[in-house]
Amino acid sequence: MRTDPDRPLVSACQASPPAGLQGAFRDLYEQYKDRVYNVCYRITGNATDALDASQETFGIMFRKIGEFRFESKFSSWVYRIAVNASIDIRRRSGSRWLASIEGPHEAGGLDLPRVDMRDDRTEGPSVAASRHELEEEIQQAILRLSPKMRAITVLRYIESLSYEEIAETLHVSIGTVKSRLSRAHQALDRELTPVLDRHYLR
């Protein structure tokens, strides 16, 4: 049996079903909320849908955690719920989605706090603006992928999941993960290479 770092908390939730956002379930929520929200945001492309998808994810997690049997990693299970909720919500809000293409941040109307991986580095306003512009371009390129390829791209390159974890999360074979990732990469190559060249050469 594989060791799952979340097993103690999940087992605690299963032993005494949570009556709300408290106890072990609260710990799990705190542990996963940023990761879940990040995946939802990158897949849906706007803050409003990301919030809905995240709420849906934790709602399902709350109701179904008693049925989880550790046949996969708990994180894979959570990611799978988040990916499916995001794709589902993105499908349901198709019209709003089109409007959000113009600017994912405006659509939600929320000022998103960002956890910058390079906070230790001081960067001037022009560098920060340039980086945000590049991020927008990357986000738009991700959004132009199909939902399946978008999910696999986010899990692989943004959440840094291994091929095995992605296969477990999406319930597909490793070969499927590789082929989808290859096609996603080809699409991103077409979209992003001119953007990246322009960004790095100026």
């Binding site: 009556a19 879940v36 945001y41 919030l51 709602g59 390079r118 990469h185 991103l188 992003l192 290479t193």
Partner: protein, 235 residues
């Protein structure tokens, strides 16, 4: 693309480590410029995607998840979440304006009664009246004229129709030319001499029988126009 290049690119995408760790991969990249360029772009894209800022969950999510994990039906939880939202008071300026605004309520014009009545009596006619005037007047497309011309001339394309048309044209031509020939070559006819004769008659008996009948009819039988010798005696 040859199989070696394809295999190299697949391995480049799959490999989590750099190409420098794989001697055969490095050798191919050193020899193949296209694959080396592909490797450069793949590395660039991977680095860019992995450096995208992570967005942290907003504080709103806590409230939403609390609502989602509360006991009760999902609808009840949604209502609870909505009702927990802070109700913003209307600004004083807006309240003042609302109080100052004159309460003039516009009255419906009298003609509205008649229009509504007409609509209710005959809905289809009202609908036609309402929308008929709004229809755009469409102009016939140029292709219609061409089609009509084609269809008009296409009548002559069948053999039977063409024969009938040609026969009718021949008859008309024959009649016209025959009339013209007769008018030129036929013997002139003698025209009758018309004239008037004035004659005085003392009685109706001398009149022409047709004139007597006409006179009797005009007088309504009041004038006895029959000749005396024709009158029959009672037996």
């Amino acid at each position: 693309m040859n199989p070696i290049c394809q295999d190299t690119r697949d391995r480049l995408l799959e490999s989590e480590s750099s190409a420098g760790d794989d001697a055969s991969l490095s050798a191919h990249l050193a020899a193949c410029g296209e694959c080396a360029e592909f490797a450069r772009r793949a590395r660039q894209i991977r680095a860019s995607l992995s450096q995208v800022s992570r967005v942290a969950a907003p504080r709103e999510l806590d409230g939403l998840v609390v609502a989602a994990t509360q006991p009760g039906s999902r609808q009840e939880r949604a209502v609870a979440a909505l009702s927990s939202l802070a109700r913003l008071p209307a600004p004083a300026e807006l309240v003042g304006r609302a109080l100052e605004a004159p309460t003039v309520r516009p009255r419906a014009p009298a003609v509205l009664d008649r229009l509504v009545d007409e609509d209710l009596r005959d809905a289809s006619a009202a609908m036609a009246r309402r929308f008929a005037g709004r229809l755009d007047r469409r102009r016939a497309p140029p292709v219609l004229r061409e089609r009509l011309q084609e269809s008009a001339f296409s009548v002559l394309r069948t053999d039977t129709t063409r024969r009938n048309v040609l026969a009718a044209a021949a008859v008309v031509l024959l009649l016209a030319s025959g009339g013209w020939w007769l008018s030129r070559h036929a013997a002139p006819t003698e025209s009758p001499d018309f004239g008037f004769e004035v004659r005085y008659e003392a009685g109706f008996g001398g009149l022409d029988p047709m004139a007597r009948s006409l006179l009797g009819g005009l007088s309504g039988g009041a004038v006895d126009v029959a000749p005396r010798r024709e009158r029959s005696a009672p037996k």
